[in-house]
Symmetry: C2
Amino acid sequence: MQEALFKNEFITVFKEESHIPWLKIFTTEPYKELTDCPKNLRDILYRSIEIVEKEMREYYKPDKINIAMFGNYVPHLHVHIMARFKSDAFFPESMWGKKQREASLVLPDEKIFLEELIKKLHSIVNM
Amino acid sequence: MQEALFKNEFITVFKEESHIPWLKIFTTEPYKELTDCPKNLRDILYRSIEIVEKEMREYYKPDKINIAMFGNYVPHLHVHIMARFKSDAFFPESMWGKKQREASLVLPDEKIFLEELIKKLHSIVNM
């Protein structure tokens, strides 16, 4: 099992190995669908999506953020948050679509991004 | 331009032509990203996603709900909400993935679903 970047009683955050910045937020307790989650957990999930999006936008300056909740293979609620660039391998298709080109992305090191993000995620519990 | 199923000052809802139940919620005022929206509008968007998901689950009994915000082609914030079935043409791939089979879905008529949904969406404004 991959090590989580962040985990508390509500959410668990993983990195997806990809040539783009791509994180996945799981509910720590397993729920199948968004509307199965208690309201408090849904609010924390929305807030954490916003934090990841905001940090990705500030740090990577992507052309677009993509967000997806599928769970057809793994019916444990999770959200994909992806920073998309016009020069990434799939743009403007989704990351589940047809490859468009060999990617030529030059991105800043993820270390500072992840440190800042984890700090911000810790703040959610104190909302 | 396709006629909206529902429109108020916050959100505009369209049907996507597909063999599965698939709706799209746009913000009525154009914003590019989720975190560009004012908090009030984000809250209405989350609540409307939950209403569509809940109505789809109750009416169509899908195997999974899929939710996506891409906007790579149309950078006006919108959310896709799809009722997925093991026998639909793409399952377990996303609707943007590789076709898996010829679909053999038999679904109840959408008329009652849409009427009920629109009633529920009207109630959001009075939250």
